[in-house]
């Protein structure tokens, strides 16, 4: 993106170089794979949570960072994935992969249906509509019979993965499962982002009017992006339900939408690995701060956010630029 291409050939070359795998990306993938061996029995559960959060954040980043749709209700898709997977396992068939497919399909359908709602209006209207959709689902799950209401959906039994690996108490199998799904999602998202479709999303994000003027069907592209992101969030929800054998109202709650927004913000929007980095940072920050001041940790989280915004991410994470005068990022 930094390269300023002067000719068409230069543009194609710069697009290709942006799509190429960098060495550090291989290193990150290897680190993800190695993390399964590193965590051992003791930390597999928290690592599993981080992997799920990272997948969820990745899905939000697709629409927030690339397509520029501000959403405060992304938990809607996480929740529908969780409830879909749990209900499927309880009533139809306990196989986790089939449940995952059903959850993804359900979330994609909801995403496609609600994408119509987010096409119109200003950022504020979009914010409120996404928030409203999630709140409606929350109230539904709270009141309906078959979702178990406020107690959550209990008694879900998940069959062993691939018929061989039963989910164990330490969460090692669960973490491996989440990790594989996360890596697959990263690969898919990377492919999408590097494709002409992905570039068109960025064009729409930067200037909707101009994007439409060069012949992009803005609404259709945003709808597709929203549906893909919804499907990924559904996968994250399914992971959550399957690895904990439980689906609760918490999966649809407002704070989940807000948290995942923070994760994307901390990791950096419009950067695929931002979800992973943000999820790790957020969980670590959370556990460190809440161990230090259990009651007041949100104060420090708030301070961190304020400082992050005021100083700017570029400067905050490059301490050597702090005392340099002049151009601000």
């Amino acid at each position: 993106m930094k390269a300023t291409a002067t000719a068409a050939g230069g543009a194609a070359a710069s697009l290709a170089s942006a799509a190429r795998w960098k060495p550090w990306e291989w290193a990150l993938l290897a680190a993800l794979a190695a993390s399964w061996f590193a965590v051992g029995n003791a930390h597999a559960l928290i690592a599993n949570e981080i992997a799920i959060l990272a997948l969820f954040a990745l899905s939000l980043d697709l629409i927030l960072g690339y397509a520029g749709i501000v959403s405060l209700g992304h938990a809607a898709f996480f929740g529908i994935g969780a409830y879909g997977a749990a209900l499927f396992a309880k009533h139809v068939m306990p196989d986790p992969l089939a449940g995952m497919a059903v959850a993804i399909a359900l979330a994609a359908v909801l995403g496609a249906a609600s994408s119509v709602l987010v096409m119109r209006g200003s950022d504020l209207a979009r914010l409120m509509i996404t928030l409203g959709v999630a709140a409606i689902l929350y109230e539904l799950a709270n009141k309906l019979e078959f979702t178990g209401g406020a107690d959550g959906l209990q008694g879900v039994v998940i069959a062993p993965l691939l018929g061989r690996f039963a989910f164990d108490l330490y969460g090692r199998v669960a973490f491996a499962y989440s990790l594989v799904v996360l890596v697959v999602a990263i690969l898919v998202a990377r492919r999408i982002v590097a494709s002409p479709f992905g570039w068109s999303l960025r064009a729409i994000r930067d200037n909707r009017l101009r994007a439409a003027a060069i012949g992009l069907n803005v609404d259709a592209r945003l709808a597709v992006a929203y549906t893909i992101a919804a499907a990924m969030a559904g996968a994250a929800g399914a992971l959550q339900a399957q690895t904990s054998s439980f689906a609760s109202l918490d999966t649809l709650d407002f704070h989940r939408s807000a948290d995942v927004m923070l994760v994307v913000v901390i990791g950096g929007a419009g950067w695929l690995w931002g979800g992973v980095v943000g999820a790790i940072a957020f969980k670590l920050l959370h556990s460190l701060l809440s161990a230090w001041t259990p009651q007041y940790w949100v104060f420090w989280l708030g301070l961190f956010l304020v400082v992050l915004t005021m100083v700017g991410r570029e400067r905050l994470f490059r301490p050597w630029t702090w005392f340099r005068k002049g151009r601000r990022s």
Binding site: L127, I129, G132, G302
Partner: protein
């Protein structure tokens, strides 16, 4: 029935006073200030603490509940908010939600996390019976105060020089600045008054809405509904939206409690889908 309607109106009026500052700042600077509720909470705590610790009567604390948040708002606007205006919306949200978190934990630390109980003076307790309609004295007081405030606001906006400057700045800040209007000053003042009104609303509403450190988070969504449904270009828009929301909420809770907030959210999504600029808004000039 009519009693419920009256309660709904009182609730809606409160929401309007709480949210009107947000509507103006949003319309003026296109800044989504999620921290607006924090100023309302500040007003509520000013009243509660003055009554409890200093023994000042309820009515006498109300001006302070307006003044202190207004000063706080002016200072915060100058120091914190102003550099943010040119940033994208996402950064507005992350910044102001950070402020909310700090306010929530700060109040928790300073005052404690328990629900504050406000002791209304004796002359506000009880209710009238007019033609079989029970009207709570305090609710009536709220409605009267809010009506007066609305009238004053409308007068300021429509009749005074400052009001016309403000309306010009909302319509198009650049042209307004070009005509010699100091948009920054106008905005500082508006922000301060908006924060003050929120504080007053928080003080008045402490008895009705409840007051604890989570206040800004709990009511943030309601403020945003009022502003987004009502639109930001008029003052009557948010008023109508607040009344609608207040009445719908009170009636919904009374007649169909099993549905909870479902009706409110469904209504909001439907309205915003139908009119993304809000019920009474018109398309933004920018």
């Amino acid at each position: 029935m009519l009693t419920l309607l009256f309660d709904g109106v009182a609730y809606g009026m409160l929401l309007f006073i709480l949210a009107v500052g947000l509507a103006v700042t949003l319309g003026l600077m296109n800044f989504i200030n999620l921290a607006h509720g924090a100023f309302a909470m500040a007003g509520g705590y000013v009243t509660v603490l003055l009554m409890e610790r200093a023994g000042i009567p309820f009515l006498a604390t109300l001006p302070l509940a307006f003044l202190l948040p207004a000063i706080l708002g002016a200072v915060a606007e100058r120091l914190l908010y102003r550099p943010m205006y040119s940033r994208p919306h996402l950064e507005h949200e992350q910044f102001s939600i950070g402020l909310v978190f700090m306010a929530v934990a700060g109040v928790d630390y300073l005052v404690g996390s328990t629900q504050q109980i406000i002791k209304l003076p004796a002359y506000f307790q009880g209710r009238f019976e007019i033609g079989g309609v029970g009207i709570g004295k305090y609710r009536l007081f709220i409605v009267v105060v809010c009506l007066v405030l609305t009238g004053v606001l409308q007068w300021v906006l429509a009749r005074t020089r400052f009001g016309s400057r403000l309306r010009a700045a909302v319509d198009d800040p650049r042209v307004a600045a070009g005509l010699g209007i100091n948009v920054n000053t106008v905005f500082s003042l508006t922000f301060a008054v908006g924060s003050g009104l929120a504080g007053l609303g928080g003080a008045l509403g402490a008895e009705v809405l409840g007051l604890d450190p989570n206040f800004p988070l709990k009511f943030m969504i309601y403020f945003l509904i009022v502003v987004s449904v009502g639109g930001t270009t008029t003052i009557t828009g948010p008023l109508a939206a607040a009344l609608l929301l207040g009445i719908a909420d009170v009636f919904g809770k009374y007649y169909v409690p099993q549905l909870g907030a479902f009706v409110v959210y469904l209504l909001m999504v439907a309205i915003l889908f139908w009119r993304p600029q809000g019920l009474f808004g018109r398309a933004a000039a920018r």
